[in-house]
């Protein structure tokens, strides 16, 4: 009974929801509305999708809850070199959440807060990887064998094309890059894409039939035993 409620029914929900969403796309199941020419599944799917959006919106709080768990632990244990930062992190979460909810996400107060910190930080954090790439290029981009030679040559041509002045000075790189992008890159990426699509479909099938249960999260005692 307990396994039923705790495990089988959720898996059944996944199966049925996915099936309805797919059926609405592939089939026109009667009864069909005379005016809109839409099947009965259509309005049901509209509803399910909108519920999904509201649920996903609820789930946006997970990040904050996870961080709170982690960092209150750091604070209570006084983890060396970490706990003052943990306090600051929790404070920032609260400041953002309170300001944003109190004044609204597009209020001038909140956008001031956003522009002073989050925007600057998120714009910078990922760009700092540009530095690592540079030393990676210097040290590792070597023509060691045919494979790495191909990688290097193609990369160098694309780098030249991406620099506007080089492309103007030597227009041939424009044509070369166009060919590289249209022929070898597109075709290799297509090959990878076809494989990945099958992987995604297989994952979907395994989840629908309850063979891929990662989404269930932690296991209950009964499940661990069984």
């Amino acid at each position: 009974m307990s396994l039923m409620v705790r495990r089988q029914i959720p898996i059944l929900i996944v199966f049925v929801t996915a099936l309805i969403i797919m059926a609405d796309y592939f089939l026109q199941l009667p009864p069909i509305d005379a005016v809109t020419k839409k099947s009965w599944t259509s309005s049901l799917v509209t509803d399910i999708q909108n519920w999904g959006i509201v649920l996903a919106a609820f789930a946006l709080g997970f990040g904050a809850v996870n961080l709170s768990y982690l960092h209150t632990r750091h604070i209570s244990r006084r983890t060396k070199g970490q706990w003052p930062f943990s306090i600051w992190l929790l404070l920032i979460i609260i400041i953002f959440a309170v300001t944003g909810i109190r004044y609204g996400a597009t209020s001038s107060t909140y956008s001031w807060l956003y522009n002073s910190s989050y925007f600057a930080l998120s714009a910078t954090v990922y760009s700092s990887l540009g530095f690592y790439m540079t030393s990676g290029i210097y040290r590792a981009l070597r023509a060691r064998n045919l494979e790495s030679m191909l990688l290097l040559i193609v990369g160098a041509i694309a780098i030249m094309r991406n620099a506007p002045a080089i492309a103007v000075a030597a227009p041939i790189v424009i044509n070369m890059e166009a060919w590289i992008s249209a022929i070898p890159t597109t075709s290799a990426q297509r090959g990878i894409m076809i494989g990945a699509a099958l992987g995604a479909i297989a994952l979907g099938i395994r989840t629908m039939i309850g063979r891929e249960t990662g989404f269930l999260g932690r296991l209950t005692e009964a499940e661990k035993g069984g």
């Binding site: 982690l70 990887l129 990676g136 040290r139 076809i194």
Partner: protein, 258 residues
């Protein structure tokens, strides 16, 4: 009742459904055999080098947890971890696993302990030192891994799982300290960095194959078998399509448009 323009897609989905479920059922009786994965062949070399230099081997499965959509990549990474641990134990090399998702800790501990038992070297296994939970935040995790690289100078680094922006950071750092590297991820944007910097590579779907091959899990191996059949269908369709299109027939393209 079938929606025109989507009939072939529905049929294809049904065929794939049969392939994959059939593949899993058959694999329960007999595991499919796998093609050689050149990336995995590098492991003995890496272990040998670590023995020679008397330095550890570092292992990471990247970011992501078992409840996200990248979970299959993490599972594949863990399967390789089990295999690499057994080999490390046999060679007498210390293997360090850097953990990102806390939930992976108990699974990894069990996996590595089993591996050491299989190698008959359980007395050399020290979970606390070898399985290190670093952080659940991307850049904190990344800088902690960098710290391990710089302090303990592993002779080899193995990265298999879902990697994000930190891929370049890791591969560059371990390259700088002279570690020999094996990397694999199915996250397309990160493969190029691994391809540039790392010595051995598992490309995209290859990591799932590696995971299934090493873990001998019939569900995964069977699912891959089913996908392979799907790829063969794709190959046949494309080949036939190109040939008949060259001779002026649109038959296949019309069929796909059904």
């Amino acid at each position: 009742m079938l929606v025109t323009g989507r009939i072939f897609a529905l049929g294809m989905l049904a065929v794939l459904w049969i392939f994959i479920i059939g593949g899993m059922e058959l694999a329960k009786k007999k595991l499919p055999t796998f093609r050689r994965l050149p990336g995995l062949d590098a492991l003995p070399e890496m272990m040998g080098r670590a023995t020679e230099m008397n330095r550890p081997v570092h292992f990471t499965t990247g970011l992501g947890s078992l409840t996200e959509s990248v979970a299959p990549q993490l599972v594949a990474g863990l399967a390789v971890l089990g295999y690499a641990s057994e080999m490390a134990a046999k060679y007498g090399v210390k293997i360090i696993y850097s953990v990102y998702a806390a939930q992976v800790m108990p699974i990894a501990t069990e996996l590595m302990r089993d591996a050491y038992i299989r190698a008959g070297k359980i007395e050399e296994f020290n979970a606390e030192d070898q399985i290190r939970y670093l952080s659940g935040e991307q850049f904190a995790y990344a800088s902690a891994v960098q710290g391990i690289a710089e302090r303990e100078r592993p002779a080899a680094n193995i990265m298999i799982g879902p990697f994000y922006a930190e891929s370049m950071l890791f591969s560059e750092t371990f390259f700088r300290i002279g570690a020999i590297q094996l990397a694999g991820t199915a996250r397309g944007y990160q493969i190029p960095f691994f391809a540039v910097v790392c010595d051995y590579l598992l490309i995209a779907e290859e990591i799932y194959a590696a995971g299934a091959y090493l873990s001998k899990d019939p569900l995964q191996a069977g699912s891959i078998r089913g996908q392979d059949l799907g790829k063969i269908v794709a190959l046949i369709l494309m080949f036939v399509g190109v040939v008949i299109y060259a001779f002026g027939s649109n038959a296949l393209i019309d069929l796909l448009k059904m």
